[in-house]
Symmetry: D2
Subunit: 385 residues, 4 copies
């Protein structure tokens, strides 16, 4: 990556918990008031990779809410996601980021063709790049999970999709995919950090390839699923047959509320279930719940109960409880992804960056879910950048 | 490995829970009344490796107690380690194994030089090989954990050691190491499945190399430590700084009683601690307890609490509870190790088989503790046999 | 209670896990091959209460399946609920109990008026009493949980109910309530051990009072709810405000299958939720799940996560995991209930036995859910019998 | 209690975490910036008891460290025990409390007879009472746990004790007991909130009775032991035989450091063990650990594993994890105890206040450990004040 180049990170859902924590973190890293804990790209293994520095990254984004970033950050500090001293140190910087946030697309308030909305989103990204003289803008979706997206024939074919987008009577793309479309039209790499449709529609993937743009997704792997992809290979390697793997997730925050809607939760549950089946086969009983427990605030707690069979049929079990701040787990990965995608884009890579599967519950373009193997692939790939 | 060759497995501690379960398992596998669950060597990854078949393995061993194998097996069935139907199916076979068990070495009852004791043990192994026309006998120590062994200069030098062994006034080797010495003198590969000194003394390792014999150890990795070597690399790969990793082990059975002695427990605790420090560094607070809880019978339960620091210093934690039958977890690994060591010996390998680190808490000749890496090494090594 | 009197226990669902375990237990107690562990009525606190002895109890019942009791008991022994030696000791006795089991009522196979079915059930109970010269027969429902019962006006009024029962075109009572009706018509006290409607319908309760018969229910309190009614008062007594109490239940066995049906599960979930609200108020977030996990067999595991607020708003939490054999927890309570109800009936008590709330998730005629208070009430009441 | 009367609370260890949190809490309650959560005495059950109001209580105390209360409170806010807004609201009030803290007794720095030290401590308490025109001063020991106190004959007899105290060559009382002696000489009721010897020595108890002073103790019941005394009676009431009850406590803060010393930890472990034995008998295997895990800060986590036997010998288990801020759990109880002891003193009670056993692991003058019974006794006793 040429020296002095600057890269933009454009966050869809820029005022949410994850985006706010990422902004606080980037400013804190730049100010030297925190270390690189939680940032994969800061590990010694990646010391030689030509990644952009913290000073080379500029934040902006879309959102449909207008709570000032500073207020959101104060709430997160109060909830214990980071310290009040960190908040104080980055307060003024947050106002600058705030000034780079534009109104996002909302199907309920938009009138006219989706193409017009997309053009507006694209223009926002381009203007951001121009304002800051950015070599590129990496778009990352960290907005609320959408309900599963009904399949339409236009999702398969780019020409048909663009024709439909131009029709004011139709709304063929969910918000996440409209954002992905707009990003690609702006020449931006795209990262889908949620289980929403985003860039996963075939027509959009073709567009990315045509434009020579890299992309990655889906659904950041930060807690229960991370553990599952670490533990499941252990059972396989030791010939221990997993018979059931039950899970319950308790979460507060906005995420809890969003996922309290059973239709929306389904997106997340499906994304989680796919990994387990890929690792252990389809014959594992695997009930899974996501509960909205507002009083937990920004904390997420998962309990998993794994029942397995060993030698001579012996029944044994493993239980774990994982308790973490969802935003603190996700935010550094946003920065990591932006850095790795930047290096890939600078290096001329396009299409699905399968080696970034390390970061995702449902890795695009890859069926490797085993975490250790994903780690090895990431390290090897990054080393070759 | 030439066809029709038969291999002996000579178990030190042949009447203990692990050995008995291994015997029941081998007989059950041979009889087709159980599948290969829990047996690593039965995984598809090893299908092409020239391992001895279940019919090619013959069991014998040393022990200092005289409880008939059949009675011990009945107790284990009663305790739920395996079903009564399995027990019934293998009952008569156990009597045959019983007939191949000889009196072990016990420092309290032995008189005369340790060399004489060793010669007797060696003769037992050779006679077993002759009786059954065995191509080799793999000796595996599954006897009770010994107290840590005080260092003596003779442990460093084979000549000095043999001189001391010949002196009736001295007892320079702990039981496990005397057994290892006797095994090597009998031309047998040796596996140290406990945290006892066994073959780890430099003089014995030199003897193994001189005799062209392979060996492996130490201390089977079956539960809490297995999980630690699976989970710790996840924290590292995600740049999550582990601050403390506390553990408590509750165990009944003979193992619980042995390890209730704090001096003996130290062997186990040191073996466990080494792995964690190797994986995460020395600055992790890691209190660790082993409690004797007789009413748990053959069940072992471990609780671990891991506190870690993420992005912006966020404190989070993981807890797990692992509940298993220790014997059911260990026994198949005994069969696996005997098979892999047989193939290595047949293939002319000698010295420390570092690729078998997969099976051990404290892998001899290797400082690789990460389980996924150990798995990959084992598969690659076995594939080349 | 007059000496020499004998009491029958008539189990609805007499071939189920709970009933079978109760039968095995009663026979084992009588044979002296087990102690009174798990039997509340055997505690010293009740030593002076005129309860029937184990030899004074005779078992019979209704069921709609025909698996021999002996076979079911063998399965339970295999699943670890009790030992094989217990099973062997009671095997022949089980055949005698088996001979006292009659076909139960099943709405799908019954033709004709429900009154006819009830008459047949009543006749079965009376014949049982005659055959064994019983002073009374206590009927206990331990059959599968039914879906919540839709409210009908006939449930309020006994005359209207009996008119409807006589109408072949209608089926106004769920199976459990038909059984309760038949029991009362046979002059039998009735215990509702499930969350099904049973005797809870006002018309039936009036019938019981009119006939001078005691009854008790609903829904045996054996695991998660038991703990909740023990722990919730602690939080209250210490002025610790519970903010959320999340629960997940994993169960195999027939119960798991029955409760995998969300409609049926609702009966159980409602019964569980009522207690928590009664203890802690309505403003506690309390998601609750019941999952069918067949590989757990007869084992039931519950995980609860309680988040509470203390001094100066400090947030703290308690988690527990309860792992038990559902049948082993429920079965002795069946025997206890039969004994206590017998003493109450002999003592001339009728109507809801509120002091037996100790045994139930949803105590009939009482809103006291606190376990310690229930214990004190039971002891005081029994002492006065 | 006469209106307008003011009561002093004199804390031994006035700059520790518990004392500081109590001070912050009292000031916050007085300022109306927090509710009475965690304060037992604020429950409706005690609404009619003549307890002193928050405005009627004045804080002072002894300590051997000099860290300003304000600084300690800031650390506790940073550690999450209470919010920064609470800290800001009480900051100035803390300086006033700070001005009422005097140097405590430390055996290592004191020269001369212990009687002289006691006289100085007594004078400090009296001067405090005079300065603030207090009707009484309740002394509460919340200083660090001491090592178990060796038994001396002087501990049995008051005259012998006072003779020994006057001897400059001897040091017959541990610090906690010297404080208790000084308190009684100042006419103060005394509460022993730690497992140290304090007032438990027979000579001191006699002194209290002679002076007509009430006292209470020992060792605040705030976490693991609280749960044990809630749960153990459940097992008993259900005739479930507890076979083992293992516990591990992880704690940071100063408490963790103090209890990392095995000799000191013994005081706490003995206090904890006594309760369990009293509740369940002596035949329960009950290993118990306290580990110092500094990175946990003010958080205390306990894991307990209870194995029990039910009907027909079925083995089942309960595990729980309790995670709380030790100071937030203990501090309100200090205020509660001061209020209840005040009312008792005003009402003319003296000697051991056994009804306060509700608050203690090792209740002085009572062998009732069952929490529900303790609750009932407290409510009844307070209602009669």
């Amino acid at each position: 990556m040429p020296a002095q180049e600057r890269t933009g990170i454009w966050l869809i859902g820029a005022r949410g918990s994850v985006a706010t924590t990422a902004a606080v973190g980037l400013l804190a890293l730049r100010a030297g008031v925190t270390g690189g804990g939680g940032c994969v790209s800061e590990l010694p293994a990646f010391a030689e990779v030509p990644l952009p520095g913290w000073d080379d990254l500029v934040l902006g984004g879309h959102d449909i809410v207008h709570t000032p970033l500073e207020k959101r950050a104060e709430q997160l500090a109060h909830a214990g996601v980071f310290g009040h001293s960190v908040f104080s140190a980055v307060r003024s910087g947050l106002a600058e980021v705030d000034a780079e946030i534009r109104d996002g697309y909302h199907p309920a308030t938009h009138t006219g063709a989706q193409a017009d909305a997309a053009a507006r989103l694209t223009a926002d990204i381009r203007a951001f790049a121009d304002r800051h003289d950015l070599a590129r803008v990496v778009v990352v979706n960290v907005s609320s999970t959408e309900a599963p997206c009904p399949h339409l024939p236009e999702h398969e074919d780019l020409d048909a999709l663009e024709a439909a987008l131009a029709d004011p009577a139709r709304a063929v793309l969910p918000s996440s995919s409209l954002s992905a479309y707009a990003a690609l039209k702006a020449g931006s790499p795209y990262v889908e950090f949620t289980p929403s449709a985003g860039i996963t529609l075939p027509a959009l993937r073709k567009l990315a390839e045509r434009e020579g743009l890299p992309y990655a997704g889906c659904d950041g792997k930060t807690g229960e699923t991370l553990l599952r992809t670490v533990l499941a290979p252990m059972f396989s390697a030791r010939a221990l047959k997993v018979r059931s793997w039950a899970g319950t997730n308790l979460l507060g925050g906005g995420d809890g509320e969003t996922l309290a809607d059973p239709v929306t939760a389904n997106s997340k549950l499906e994304s989680k279930a796919r990994g387990l089946a890929a690792l252990l086969g389809d014959d594992v009983t695997a009930p899974l719940h996501i509960d909205n427990v507002p009083d937990l605030g920004e904390i997420k707690t998962a309990w998993d109960h794994v029942s397995f069979e060993g030698f001579l049929g012996a029944r044994m079990n493993l239980q774990f409880t994982w308790t973490g701040y969802d935003s603190a787990l996700a935010a550094p990965l946003i920065l990591d992804l932006a850095r790795f995608v930047t290096a890939a884009h600078a290096g001329g890579q396009s299409g699905a960056l399968t080696e970034l599967g390390f970061f995702f519950k449902d890795p695009l373009g890859s069926d490797e879910h085993r975490f250790a193997e994903q780690t090895a692939r990431l390290v090897a790939w990054a080393g070759a950048l």
